[in-house]
């Protein structure tokens, strides 16, 4: 305990149980799992308790629930069009899960689930596979016409196909890395500035403290914004799969 605490200690996975690997997988219950369960539980509670009263003129909680629903519904409608109504549950679950995971990470002593690329790449990899399979099943072999934009000259076509393929494959990576990097960088900065507060002591420590307060507000904004960007890019990729083929 004499060594200093690194600001990256907050991202360490701690296991609460201790059993053997099942089928080669480590299925112990970790702090990551705990906060994922908490995020899901809170989102279910928000939505179910929020609409329980069913008042015609909504109170605060019901209004909040309705606003969230309408926000995501408008996002889906604006980006996928009227054919996108069936994908609304997917986008809404994704958005609410990421919002709650990000915001819960800002509570003291908590763990940010989405700061691990394992988690965000699982989400974005699933989205990518789903969108690709949807496009293949919907358009058949014409899906591969997506990689050759109109108007390319014939001698540029083979190279263009490969470049478009790589650009398409870069989508899940950029989606996952954006969320993970933003969460990782934000929380690391919070810890580092908090370290400055303690190390500068009583006389000078108020300056980084003020900055820390502002940074917390900024991190809350970034948490919501990154969830929004994830959801809206998923809508854009769904739109590409459904329409522009």
């Amino acid at each position: 305990m004499s060594t200093g605490h690194s600001p990256l200690d907050q991202f360490k996975i701690n296991y609460f149980t201790n059993f053997q690997d099942i089928g080669g997988f480590n299925l112990n219950f970790s702090n990551s799992s705990l906060f994922m369960i908490l995020a899901v539980g809170l989102s279910i509670a928000l939505l179910s308790i929020g609409i329980r009263k069913r008042a015609l003129v909504p109170g605060r909680l019901q209004s909040f629930t309705e606003l969230t629903y309408e926000f995501v519904a408008n996002m889906v409608k604006d980006n996928i069009g009227s054919g996108g109504k069936q994908y609304f549950p997917l986008i809404f679950s994704l958005f609410i899960f990421i919002v709650f995971c990000n915001v819960l990470g800002l509570m003291p002593y908590s763990f940010t689930v989405t700061s691990h690329i394992a988690v965000t790449f699982a989400l974005s990899g699933f989205i990518f596979v789903f969108v690709t399979l949807l496009a293949i099943f919907k358009h058949g072999l014409k899906f591969f016409g997506f990689f050759l934009p109109e108007g390319t000259p014939w001698w540029l076509a083979p190279l263009m196909i490969f470049i478009e393929l790589f650009a398409y494959l870069a989508r899940p990576v950029s989606l996952s890395v954006r969320l993970a990097a933003n969460m990782l960088a934000g929380h690391t900065m919070l810890k580092v500035i908090a370290g400055f507060v303690i190390s500068l002591g009583f006389m000078l420590g108020w300056a980084p403290l003020v900055f820390l307060i502002v940074l917390n507000g900024f991190e809350l904004f970034v948490a919501l914004l990154q969830a929004y960007i994830f959801a809206i890019l998923t809508c854009v990729y769904l739109n590409d799969a459904i329409h522009l083929h």
């Binding site: 409608k77 604006d78 980006n79 996928i80 069009g81 009227s82 054919g83 490969f162 470049i163 478009e164 393929l165 790589f166 650009a167 398409y168 494959l169 870069a170 990576v173 950029s174 890395v177 954006r178 990097a181 933003n182 914004l225 990154q226 960007i229 809206i232 854009v236 739109n239 329409h243």
Partner: protein, 101 residues
């Protein structure tokens, strides 16, 4: 009587097809209008294209056992792919600015 009923059903069908055409037109002009990009989106796209290219090239080389031919080819293709993504994003942002006036 049946003549009037036929006219009514024709008009209701016409109304339905007008509704569908309106919805299609609204969809076409609404979809793809805003696509906001957060801060640092372009840098992340640049990075991820290169990462995908190098990883793909490296594992292709490992799998096929060739000299770093595939690694180099896929690296440059990855760079080109990320450049293509950035070009599309920048063009979309240009279009957004023009519409706002």
């Amino acid at each position: 009587m049946s003549n009037k009923d036929k006219k009514i059903s024709e008009f209701s069908e016409l109304g339905k097809s007008i509704e569908q055409a309106k919805k299609r037109l609204l969809d076409k002009e609404r979809v793809g209008k805003n696509k906001p990009a957060g801060p640092g989106r372009i840098s992340i796209e640049l990075l991820s294209g290169v990462v995908v290219g190098t990883l793909l090239g490296y594992y292709l080389d490992l799998w096929l056992g060739t000299s770093p031919v595939f690694f180099l080819i896929c690296f440059f293709l990855g760079v080109a792919g990320s450049g293509l993504n950035i070009y599309k994003i920048a063009r979309q942002q240009d279009k957004n600015v023009d519409l706002d006036e």
